[in-house]
């Protein structure tokens, strides 16, 4: 596996990110060799931990997903090939959860991008209270998602919440699919827009004041300055923020678990995986779902990197 760190002292395998060419390597100075050794030594613990806790379990998940493995009947475990995948992919539960997840992801990320840009501009440009504004914006980012979700749940609970009172009496929005989905999106947007806004704020800092002034002198309107000058310069930051938030939204769990527990057609893929594992205790099916979610996330990440190439975070680390 090429992601494994080289043990200190061994020559690097060809192609594993080697920066030296063949003749150079023979002539490595003592200092450079020492630097390499130290580099590997320092990275080794982090690499070992990351491989042990992610690569190994995902491999194990693939293995489990090929078994019939139900914790209620442990004696009946046996190899069943791809039939768990067949069972999951032909089940309406998977597809319902898939579309729900996709819907929540797309809608919340779009809203977050627009709102986050607004927030970032306010934080960047505000004339006073800058500290207060930034501090308040950080609170939703830091607050425990479960706490925020309870706050929203109570707000929409009839007879208890301030928001439920705005509705005609007898309405319980969390018990109907579409209203509940929108409320889940609302909770998600509230909680994660600050993160988006902060990443965009960092992007705004990349836009030189002089360029904006020059555009102003040339007679560009505020909107033109925003779309023609700021957005192109901010593109890398926007794409990073979009990628991170999309993948994060796709694994949505906490908000749904608290707000509806996945009832009334609001379960996401993560909720589906959790239910299969902990309610049905079916490790085989649960693992197949885990692997499929992993593949979905991989496809999203790949699409981002492929579509936007150079803007992918990995590429930016180049020095």
């Amino acid at each position: 596996m090429s992601t494994r760190a080289q043990p200190a002292g061994t020559p690097p395998s060809p192609g594993a990110g080697t920066e030296q060419t063949e003749p150079d390597r023979a002539a490595l100075s003592a200092g450079a060799r020492q630097e390499r050794r130290l580099g590997w030594l320092l990275c080794a613990p982090a690499v070992v931990v990351m491989i042990a806790v992610t690569a190994y379990p995902i491999g194990y998940a693939i293995y489990l997903s090929l078994q019939r493995y139900d914790l209620r009947f442990p004696g009946q475990a046996k190899f069943v090939g791809l039939s768990n995948y067949g069972a999951v992919l032909s089940s309406p539960f998977w597809w319902d959860a898939f579309w729900v997840t996709l819907f929540i992801t797309v809608v919340s990320v779009v809203i977050e991008l627009v709102l986050g840009m607004g927030l970032a501009l306010v934080m960047h440009r505000t004339l006073f209270w800058r500290g207060v504004v930034r501090t308040s914006v950080l609170i939703p980012y830091g607050i425990v998602t479960v706490v925020a979700a309870f706050s929203w749940q109570y707000a929409w609970t009839p007879n208890l919440g301030y928001l439920a009172e705005l509705l005609p009496s007898g309405e319980a929005p969390l018990t109907e699919q579409w209203p509940a989905l929108w409320l889940i999106i609302l909770a998600e947007v509230w909680k994660t827009t600050p993160f988006m806004a902060l990443l965009l704020l960092a992007g705004l800092a990349l836009v030189p004041e002089e360029t904006l002034k020059a555009a102003m002198v040339d007679g560009a309107t505020a909107w033109q300055r925003f779309t023609k000058v700021m957005l192109p310069l901010m593109k890398p930051a926007i794409l990073v923020a979009l990628l991170f938030r999309t993948l994060d939204a796709f694994r949505i769990f906490d908000n749904i678990y608290i707000l509806t527990a996945g009832a009334h057609g609001t379960g996401s893929l993560s909720i589906l995986g959790y239910d299969n594992l902990f309610t049905a205790l079916n490790l085989g099916i649960g693992s197949a779902i885990s692997v499929l979610i992993f593949i979905c996330v991989g496809i999203i990440a790949f699409a981002f990197v492929k579509l936007f190439g150079a803007a992918a975070p990995g590429a930016e680390v180049k020095r």
């Binding site: 479960v146 692997v291 990995g314």
Partner: protein
């Protein structure tokens, strides 16, 4: 001109108020709930009419909450210390040293940052059951540490690039080995960045819910976010609303303190890690 300036300022003022209200209102609402006594819980007031600490007394009366609070603090602190220690070493190497495999390391940690945790829940559940760390502190510390490592590596390597490294060279000229130069010159300079990263990692561990409900089954390792999801009222006819609100406020306090005191640093940590890679 002065009038235009005034409307301009007023417009910013209104916008700022909107932003602050948007960010804080849900937090205020649950805090207000926690101070209401059960009879006025449903009055819909934004400010409790009669303030009471009854809900707080209630949650600290039983071991369910206090135990969870101890678990949360212990698990988050230990995970943070380990993740930051390993992350610091790796980030130093990434920011400073030239060695093959660096690109792969960065790519790998990026991959882990994007990993869907639910994909690890079923294998980890089984592995932890088999090796006997299911429902223990270690069982939660290991995944927390792993998932916060990429965050630590990114933020720290961004901080490390800002450090005046000539000082290290000077130390080396004076005869220090790279390891000595690292320990005696760079570590003190890097401390603020390390501290900021620690706060971010702590917030991350403090927040987790999925691992906390999947990899625990009893009070022995369940953290507060998981525990409040399982709260029940003191009688079966009573909703645990007040207790949940009080517990929610208690676990929100550390975050509010961090944000109030380290706002500038947290913003710097989040944004530098994100944009500069």
């Amino acid at each position: 001109m002065a009038a235009a300036g005034k409307t301009h300022a007023a417009r910013w003022g209104v916008m700022n108020v909107v932003v602050v209200l948007y960010a804080l209102f849900p937090v205020w609402w649950i805090a207000a709930l926690s101070f209401k006594d059960p009879t006025t819980l449903t009055d819909g007031d934004y400010i409790p009419r009669d303030w009471t600490l009854e809900n707080y007394r209630g949650i600290f009366d039983t071991s369910e909450f206090t135990r969870a609070l101890i678990n949360s603090i212990g698990i988050a602190l230990i995970s943070t210390v380990i993740a930051v220690a390993l992350g610091t070493m790796a980030a130093y190497a990434v920011a400073r040293l030239r060695f093959p495999g660096k690109r792969v390391l960065i790519g790998m940690s990026l991959l882990i940052a994007m990993f869907p945790p639910i994909s690890l829940v079923s294998p980890l559940f089984n592995i932890e059951r088999i090796i006997g760390i299911f429902d223990t502190w270690v069982g939660l510390i290991i995944p927390y540490m792993t998932f916060s490592l990429p965050l630590a590596i990114y933020t720290l390597s961004a901080f490390f690039r800002e450090i005046p490294w000539d000082l290290e060279k000077a130390a080396k000229v004076d005869g220090a080995t790279p390891a000595q130069a690292f320990r005696m010159v760079i570590v003190p300079l890097a401390a603020p960045g390390v501290f900021t990263t620690a706060i971010l990692v702590f917030i991350f561990c403090w927040n987790d819910f999925l691992f906390a409900i999947s990899l625990t089954s009893t009070e022995s390792a369940r953290t507060v976010p998981a525990a409040i999801a399982f709260f029940t009222g003191s009688s079966q006819f009573q909703q645990p609303t007040g207790s949940i609100a009080a517990a929610a406020v208690v676990i929100t306090i550390p975050i509010i303190v961090f944000v109030l005191f380290f706002q500038r640093r947290i913003v710097a940590g989040l944004t530098s890690g994100a944009v500069k890679g």
